[in-house]
Amino acid sequence: MRVWTAGLSALGLTCGLALAQPAAAQSQISSVCGVTGAATAPASITYDPFSPGGLSEATVPLILRRNRGLILGRTREVSLVLVSPSGSPALDVTYNGYRVIYPEGSTAGRPRSLNSKDNGAGAAGEIRYDFGSLLAADTSTPLNLRVTVPPGTDLSAGEPIILDLLYICSGENGMASVSVPTRDTGTIRINVNTVSALQAYYAGSPLDFGEIGEATTAAVLAAPDRYTTPASNSLRVRSSGPFEVRMRSQNDFKLTYPGGSLSNAAQTIRYSARFLGQEITSNSGFGTRTCARAGMDGSAGVLPLRTTLKEGGSAKTPATNYSDIISITFTPIVTASSATSCAGL
């Protein structure tokens, strides 16, 4: 009983601590002023990258945490802007009605001043905050950012958007001030709850072996390239997160015609499928594969599909409509520890 009590107490303590401190757990100890910040959208706000509406002006509270000196030093005031490094997803962030996110190298001299210096005259387009004196809290009150994410933005499911911070600040009680805009890389984390979503489609020509009535099995096996569909045919996937792939053939990788019997060798023609780097000849041979996120541009989501005949049609019952249907199921998942890049396999 004591053992269980100890375990559960530890669990509760850990949960309690984590819930009480959503931003950075501790203030950074530094001789100069500075802040870190985290902004997490409420769980009720989610971003589906495939939704035509995207995310429009969602309120995401930003909580800043000031640096502290070893003993009494504190960051007092801060003025900052967000900087999106080149290659960052396109999103718009406003604060008090003004845009506060700028592309790298286009901040136009911001942040310009602190409120104590210009009485707020240049506050538009900047995020400013006064933490107060030594005894005040090290975390700010929530600063409501309005975040807009266009549809189709390449955000990763389950991962925050990491932005840089450009700031000036004042320190007190022995802490040095920073008067020249200083960049802090990866300091701001904005989590907009991107769902793991996925779109997939087949791109290419029909997988048609054509008339194979004169081909013997020996001839087919001797010239596999001749009886293989083009490598340019593929499944195209766009996804914001990793995904699982399953493949299943309606006839267990045999062509047959309407009314044909799968147990009659004369009425079936075996073939194999090459997908995700694997040669599949039966439904039991593939299982489930986990692929890394394909991205919203689909650049990492081209999955070639080739089929190869394994039997000729010379000894088969004539029919113009031999066919089979392969079902490929993609399941978006939130996290995957063993995901591999499936592109081009």
Partner: protein, 121 residues
């Protein structure tokens, strides 16, 4: 015994902390529904017939027995028919000779045996 209990207790507490961390680290972000793509594969085996063991026989001795060539069809019910027809002056098959023709009567030098195999040869 007490030492053992504390040891186990610490282990469980540590496991609980790890579990708590894991559960907090995994964001509560929903995943969307499955996407199923169906791809059809086609093939065709055309009905046809062919001559098995085709051979060209030139014999001068009428007594020699030549095994007849066989037509093979890959369709379940092929149709094989043969008719004797008279040949036109330009070589075209013209007049069908009834099967009930008196076989004792000699054929004209301009007759031919037409073999029709369905679906095709």
């Amino acid at each position: 015994m007490m030492a053992l209990t504390i040891l186990i207790s610490n282990r469980i507490a540590r496991a609980a902390i790890v579990l708590a961390s894991m559960s907090l680290a995994v964001p509560a972000v929903p995943a969307m529904a499955d996407e199923v793509n169906q791809v059809a594969i086609y093939g065709e085996v055309a009905p046809r017939c062919w001559v098995a063991q085709p051979m060209k026989v030139a014999t001068t001795n009428a007594a020699v027995q030549v095994p007849p060539a066989r037509a093979i069809c890959n369709q379940a019910q092929p149709v094989l028919a043969s008719e004797v027809r008279m040949i036109d002056s330009d070589g075209a098959l013209m007049k069908r000779v009834p099967t009930a023709t008196d076989r004792t009567a000699p054929f004209s030098p301009r007759t031919a045996l037409e073999i029709v195999v369905t679906p095709q040869l």
